[in-house]
């Protein structure tokens, strides 16, 4: 149950970071903060796709609930992100990474590849978040600046969080 415990710790700590950041940092409506996808991104590789989906759903709902967002908004986007995650991981990582690594983090994949992995998955998350938020394509072009700015900010935040929380410890 060692990995189970660390999953719970990472779940709670990222949820806490998310609540604090979205409560304290306010850049206006142009930016929404989303740090919690890092939790789903760094679930152990041997987690089944079903497990990924269930974790994504729980994390999404918890994030929605504690940040006063619309319930279901983050969970629907995070589910789609979890669905494509194994494919993205396979495409980004080297072959050897799959067998002997447990957690797809910055220390295991290398900073450059990890950044690419985060960026692709966050793009998927943000596109579907934006679609779910305005419920349709009508506002999509209109929301594009919001999407791009948020994407840049969140990628940076996630890389900082990953570097600060996990990268240094493993080296």
């Amino acid at each position: 149950m060692k990995s189970g415990g660390s999953i719970i710790i990472s779940f709670i700590s990222l949820l806490f970071v998310q609540v604090i950041l979205s409560g304290l940092v306010d850049f206006g409506p142009l930016v929404f903060i989303a740090v919690f996808p890092l939790f789903v991104m760094t679930l152990p590789i041997n987690t089944s796709l079903n497990g990924l989906l269930i974790w994504a759903f729980i994390m999404g709902l918890a994030a929605d609930y504690f940040t006063n967002s619309i319930m279901g908004l983050n969970s629907s986007a995070l589910l789609i992100m979890a669905l494509v995650q194994p494919q993205i991981f396979k495409a980004v990582s080297r072959k050897g990474d799959l067998e002997n690594q447990i957690r797809p983090g910055m220390a295991q994949m290398g900073p450059a590849k990890f950044a690419l992995y985060v960026l692709i998955l966050l793009t998927v998350h943000h596109i579907f978040f934006s679609l779910a938020e305005s419920l349709g394509f009508t506002h999509f072009i209109y929301n594009l600046p919001r999407l791009l700015v948020s994407l840049a900010v969140n990628t940076l935040l996630i890389l900082i969080a990953e570097y600060g929380l996990f990268y240094k410890l493993r080296r």
Partner: protein, 276 residues
């Protein structure tokens, strides 16, 4: 055997994904129901505890600005008091003709949770049904409108912020007297849009926008903002960009508007509808 076949496992995953996704979308669609659940009980207590810590920290950094707002309001109230004093002396002779209850009374409240960075923003205040707050009441500050109460628990109320793409406020432009709906378009929390003003009405940049008082939610003459820019829509209508007075990021104290004549007015409307 079930677990071994890759097709069946793939199918199970797809079904799980679709099921969870449908649940999420149902959550989004029924959000108002869940907010009512969210408001109640221990969860609300926990959430407001977390929110009040973060809002306390934010509040500290806005202290100076709050002081200025209070000073300005004080000044305005002093001026009004002077006017009423002189009027009061006159009114002694007209006693009995004056209405006994004012149209609007106010419940002061403190914000414990506020968001400005979403397309559907919400606010939680520390006044609830115990203090006389009810659903569909308006919430204002001296600087403008804040929103409408969406649900109420004993000690807390949940406000749909004006910063919500589904909200609109009936507004009037002074000095021309033109009116139209003021809506927030989801871009910056400092600006809103006033549309549907006929083209022939003369409006200049810098004119002040007030609430019109055409609804039972907000009192008339609450200042909202000033006209910044105008565009003409299809040659027949103005569309104005309005710079809001209200700084939603630094909101701390608000007043809940109690319309004392609301029931009477609604009753009156209903009677007339029946007659027609």
């Amino acid at each position: 055997m079930w677990g071994r076949s890759p097709i069946l496992r793939g199918l199970a995953t797809i079904i799980l994904f679709l099921a969870l996704e449908v649940v999420s979308i149902l959550f989004i669609a029924n959000d108002s129901v869940f907010q009512r659940v969210k408001i109640s009980g221990a969860a609300m207590y926990l959430k407001s505890g977390v929110s009040s810590v973060t809002s306390d920290i934010r509040y500290y950094f806005w202290l100076k600005e709050h002081n200025e707002v209070l000073l300005r309001e004080n000044q305005r109230l002093k001026e009004q008091l002077a006017i009423y004093r002189t009027k009061g002396e006159m009114a002694d002779t007209l006693e009995g003709f004056l209405p006994t209850t004012p149209d609007f009374t106010y419940i002061p409240a403190k914000i414990i949770s506020n968001s400005t960075n979403k397309l559907n923003n919400f606010i939680i205040i520390n006044r609830g049904s115990r203090h006389g707050v009810k659903k569909d009441m308006g919430v204002i500050t001296p600087e403008g409108v804040v929103g409408v109460i969406s649900s109420v628990s004993d000690n807390y109320a949940y406000i749909i912020s004006f910063l919500n793409i589904n909200q609109s406020v009936s507004a009037r432009i002074e000095p021309s007297g033109a009116f139209g709906p003021l809506i927030w378009e989801g871009r910056s929390s400092d600006y809103a849009t006033l549309a549907e003003v006929p083209y022939h009405i003369k409006v200049s940049v810098g004119d002040t926008v007030f609430t019109s008082g055409f609804s039972t939610i907000y009192p008339p003459d609450v200042p909202l903002g000033t006209i910044r820019r105008s565009t003409v829509i299809r040659g027949s209508h103005h569309k104005f960009q309005v710079k809001l007075f209200q700084n939603f990021g630094s909101l701390r104290y608000v007043s809940v508007v109690v319309n004392n004549k609301k029931d009477e007015l609604n009753q009156f409307l209903k009677e007339n509808e029946v007659r027609r």
